[in-house]
């Protein structure tokens, strides 16, 4: 029987594949790499594309990844897949957006609807407690 290596394909939100394979072909940034069992330790980036697994039975399975990282150990291969396309400028835009949101939220004191509704809830609970208290007093007096 041919040698196999353990493969884990995981994304941050779910585990995609876990099992053994005879060979893994992955789209690394410097070009496609084919990993056989016993490969030396390697850490590389992946670009969007297909990861191809050659199974022990001779079948081939494909998994689409939108980029990520590939870690290779002699006995195991791990694909840390991204859940979305990542690009430097997109990340930066997202960061700026998060900053802007914080500034806006801090400047805009009145837009806090949640705070207002929480206060309303509190007032209602207080009123109910008060009613309960009054009821208790009445029953206490009469009983």
């Amino acid at each position: 029987m041919a040698m196999t290596v353990h493969v884990d394909i995981v994304s941050a939100e779910a585990s995609i594949y876990s099992g053994s394979a005879e060979m893994i072909i992955a789209p690394a940034v410097m070009g496609e790499v084919g990993i056989m069992p016993g490969h030396t330790q390697l850490l590389t980036q992946l670009k969007p594309g297909e990861v191809e697994l050659k199974m022990p039975g001779g079948e081939v399975e494909y998994f689409y990844v939108s980029g990520g990282m590939l870690e290779v150990q002699p006995r195991s291969v791990t694909v840390l897949a991204d859940t979305a396309l990542r690009a430097k400028d997109v990340d930066e835009a997202a960061a700026l957006e998060a900053k802007a949101r914080a500034e806006k939220a801090l400047a805009d004191q009145e837009s806090e609807v949640d705070y207002a509704s929480a206060q309303a809830e509190l007032a209602m609970a207080m009123a109910q407690l008060k009613a309960l208290d009054r009821m208790r007093k009445i029953t206490g007096r009469r009983g």
Partner: protein, 287 residues
């Protein structure tokens, strides 16, 4: 004295409240199960990336990334994970208490603080108590995506890169079990190498493609994102569990309250009947 009608009205209103709390309890219970599944689903990635990072810390890379180097602590950043909605018992309050303890300690050492909030409750809290909020993300929903967190995490990482913060913590509720949620302050940066196991005291290094700096940059960024994402997912499971317990307590209390009111109502009714009877008897005797 409260008349029978008044008491009946109150019983009705409490019954309505109880219906709502019961429904919320059931909704929270089913959402909790799903949140736990999501927590389990994100674990393989977190475990794997943690293993790779710990391998890295034990290997002897030619290039040392700044995320792995301790530096003097003058400024500290916190990523605070809270819920978007209330009615979940003391979950957020306990978390903020724990956080304030940690912040007080830092302030005592003359350390500057900045905060990145996730969830509206944390934002509302810092608005009230004051604090430097540099980034904010909220309304993630029950199934948050990593993509939604990228912006906030990136802001903090940039701050770390630029030397605006020297340490980064993530603050969230750890899901112990349905009844217990543990507020946690966890250090993300610099990455603390776990104690070296004797077995893996090896002297090897990865081959990096295209080069060590670029690969490590990307890997460690994903590592931080994964830690934060894990915190967010866990916090959601905590939120649902806490809400379920709080709503169960509310339903029980409403039940007790209804019982008490029912008793008061019966007594009031009985008193009215007795009074009426005695009036009739007295009237008959007078004739």
């Amino acid at each position: 004295m409260a008349s029978g009608k008044e008491i009946r009205g109150k019983v009705k209103s409490i019954q309505n409240t109880q219906k709502i709390t019961r429904a919320m309890e059931m909704v929270a219970a089913s959402k909790m199960r799903r949140a736990q599944d999501r927590m389990a689903a994100s674990r393989p990635y977190a475990d794997n990336i943690r293993r790779v990072v710990s391998n890295l810390a034990h290997a002897h890379p030619e290039y040392h990334h700044s995320y792995m180097k301790e530096r003097e602590v003058k400024r500290v950043g916190y990523i605070v994970v809270s819920t978007d909605r209330g009615l979940c018992g003391g979950l957020n309050v306990n978390l903020f208490k724990r956080l304030l303890g940690s912040m007080q300690e830092m302030k005592g050492k003359g350390v500057d603080l900045q905060v990145c909030t996730i969830g509206t409750k944390a934002l509302g809290f810092f608005k009230r108590v004051g604090g430097r909020v540099v980034a904010e993300t909220s309304h993630l929903g029950d199934a948050p995506s990593v993509t939604a967190l990228i912006g906030s995490v990136r802001t903090m990482l940039d701050a770390y890169d630029n030397g605006e913060i020297d340490r980064l913590y993530v603050v969230y509720n750890e899901f112990v079990n349905t009844m217990t949620q543990a507020p946690t302050v966890e250090q993300i940066l610099p990455i603390q190498a776990e104690t070296v196991d004797d077995e893996i005291k090896h002297h090897w290094d990865y081959i990096y493609e295209p080069d060590a700096k670029e690969v490590l940059d990307q890997l460690l960024m994903r590592y931080v994102e994964s830690v934060v994402y894990q915190g967010v997912v866990e916090n959601i499971a905590c939120e649902m569990a806490a809400r379920m317990v709080a709503m169960k307590a509310a339903s029980d209390n409403a039940g007790n309250l209804i019982g008490e009111l029912q008793l008061a109502y019966n007594k009031a009714r009985q008193a009215a009947i007795t009074q009426e009877l005695s009036e009739i008897v007295a009237g008959a005797a007078a004739v």
